[in-house]
Symmetry: C2
Subunit: 230 residues, 2 copies
DNA sequence: ACAAAAGTGTTAGGCCTACACCCATGA
DNA sequence: TCATGGGTGTAGGCCTAACACTTTTGT
C-alpha cells in the first residue's frame, strides 16, 4: 500500500470546499453546476468543489476548484456553512466547507463544455449529488439574508444597470414582488446608487435611466451599520 | 511508527470543534474559557474544544468536548464559522469548526475547578491561545446579528425575568443604550412575552413585573419571518 | 433627604404602503 | 390601437425616538 503515504495517529476526515455560484440573467437566478465524471454519483450534477490541499485555506481551495472545473476565475468566495454529516460521502468521512460566489453573467465567457458545466435557472435544478440539495437550500437562505445587509446584488448585475433590473434581482432572490415606485424611492434614498449618465436630452421617456453602484457612499453607510428593509 | 495507524493517499488536515459559550449574569456577558494543560499554548486560556471523532458531527463533537472539559451539558450548539488558516496550529494542519452555545448561568452548578475552567466578563478576556482572539471577535459579531432575528436572549436569562434584565442583556450584547420606555413598548408589542404572574395587589410600585418567553407566539411569528429592529 | 429603580403616555417626524396617470415604443 | 414598460408624487397609517413625572425603597 505504498500509495497511502500520509499517516496519522488518529483518523482524519477528508475536507473539501464546495462552491455555490450564483448569477443573474436579468430574469432569474442562475446556479452553476458541473456534471460528475467519476463515481460516486457519476453523471449527476453537483457544485464545483474538491479536496482541500494541505497548504491552502478553504477560500483558496474553493477558487482553485472553481477555476479547474469551470474555467471561472472569481475574486471572492465566502464560506457560509460546513456540512459534517457522517455519511454524506459514501467513500470515506468527508466534511465540506460550502462557499458562495456571485458572478456577473455578462462577464462569463461562453462555457467550455456545456456537457460538463452548465447554468441552471433556480426553478429548474435537477436532483444533485451527495447532500448538495441540502447545501443549495442553505445557500439560498444565506443569500436572502445577506442581500438585506449588503448590496451584494451589485456583484450580480453589470456595472451599469436599470432600476428595473435591480428590482428584478431583489424579487428573484427574495421571492416577493415590490411596488415599483416604492422600490425606486427606497433605493434612491439609501444613497448607494449614482446615475451612471445624466439622461441625455434625446432619451425618449421610454428609455430607462442607468445607475451604478456608488462604492464610496456604501463604505460610509457600512461604517454606521445599515440595513435594507424589505 | 506503529502508532500511526491511519493512512491516506493524500494529506488530511485535522479537524476540531471549538465552543464559544456565552452566559449572562444580569450585568455583563460572560464567556467560558478553559486553561490549556498541555502544549502548545500551555497555561493559556482557550475555548473548550477538541478533535472531531470520525463518527460524530461537529455539533456532537462540540457538545462532547464541552462536557468533558467543563462538565457543562448543553442541548444546543450551533456552528458559526470554520477557521482554516494554514498556520493556525503549530503542530499540524488543523481546521476548526467554531460553535456558539448559550447557557443560563443560573443553571450552571459551581465550576469544578476554577483553575481549569472559568467564566470571564466580556471586557476582561485575557489573550487567548491559537487564533481564539479572532474566533471570539467573530462570535461576538455573530451573536449581535442573531439577537436581531431570534429571541436567543431567552436562552441566556432565567425562565422568569424582569424587563430591565432583558434590556440589560440586549444592551450588553449590542453595546448600545436604549430608552427604557421605548424598549418596553417594542418588546411588549412584539407579543413574544407573557407576564409570568399578574402583579400581586401588594406589589409596590418598586417591584418589577416578571415576564417569561411565550414560545407559542414566537413560533407563529417565526413562520411569517420577523425581525427585531434596533 | 436623596439616589436609584420602576411604572406610565404623548408628540412629532419619518418611513412604509398603497395607489393612478401620462408618455413612448413595439407589436 | 393596444399592451407594455417606464417615469413621477401623495396621503394615511404605523412606527420610532425623544422626553418627565411619580412612587417606592434603601442608604
Amino acid at each position: 500500500m505504498s500509495e497511502l503515504k500520509y499517516s496519522y495517529k488518529y483518523p482524519h476526515p477528508a475536507v473539501t470546499a464546495d462552491c455555490v455560484i450564483f448569477g443573474f440573467d436579468g430574469v432569474s437566478i442562475k446556479i452553476l453546476l458541473v456534471k460528475r465524471g467519476i463515481e460516486p454519483y457519476k453523471g449527476k450534477w453537483a457544485f464545483p468543489g474538491g479536496f482541500m490541499r494541505i497548504d491552502e485555506t478553504s477560500e483558496e481551495c474553493a477558487k482553485r476548484e472553481l477555476d479547474e472545473e469551470t474555467g471561472l476565475k472569481t475574486s471572492s468566495v465566502e464560506q457560509f456553512y460546513t456540512f459534517t454529516d457522517v455519511h454524506r460521502d459514501p467513500r470515506e468521512r468527508v466534511i465540506t466547507i460550502a462557499h458562495i460566489a456571485l458572478v456577473r453573467l455578462s462577464e462569463v465567457k461562453g462555457g467550455d463544455d456545456a456537457e460538463v458545466a452548465r447554468w441552471f435557472a433556480q426553478g429548474d435544478i435537477p436532483s444533485l449529488a451527495f447532500d448538495h440539495d441540502h447545501i443549495l437550500r442553505m445557500a439560498l437562505k444565506t443569500l436572502k439574508e445577506r442581500i438585506c445587509f449588503e448590496p451584494i446584488g451589485f456583484e450580480l448585475l453589470p456595472e451599469v444597470f436599470t432600476m428595473s433590473e435591480l428590482q428584478n434581482l431583489y424579487e428573484a432572490i427574495l421571492e416577493v414582488k415590490f411596488d415599483r415606485r416604492n422600490f425606486y424611492n427606497k433605493m434612491l434614498k439609501l444613497g448607494i446608487l449614482s446615475e451612471a449618465e445624466p439622461r441625455s436630452a434625446d432619451a425618449s421617456r421610454r428609455t430607462p435611466s442607468k445607475y451604478k453602484f456608488n462604492a464610496t457612499k456604501y463604505a460610509e453607510l457600512k461604517q454606521k451599520g445599515f440595513r435594507l428593509e424589505f
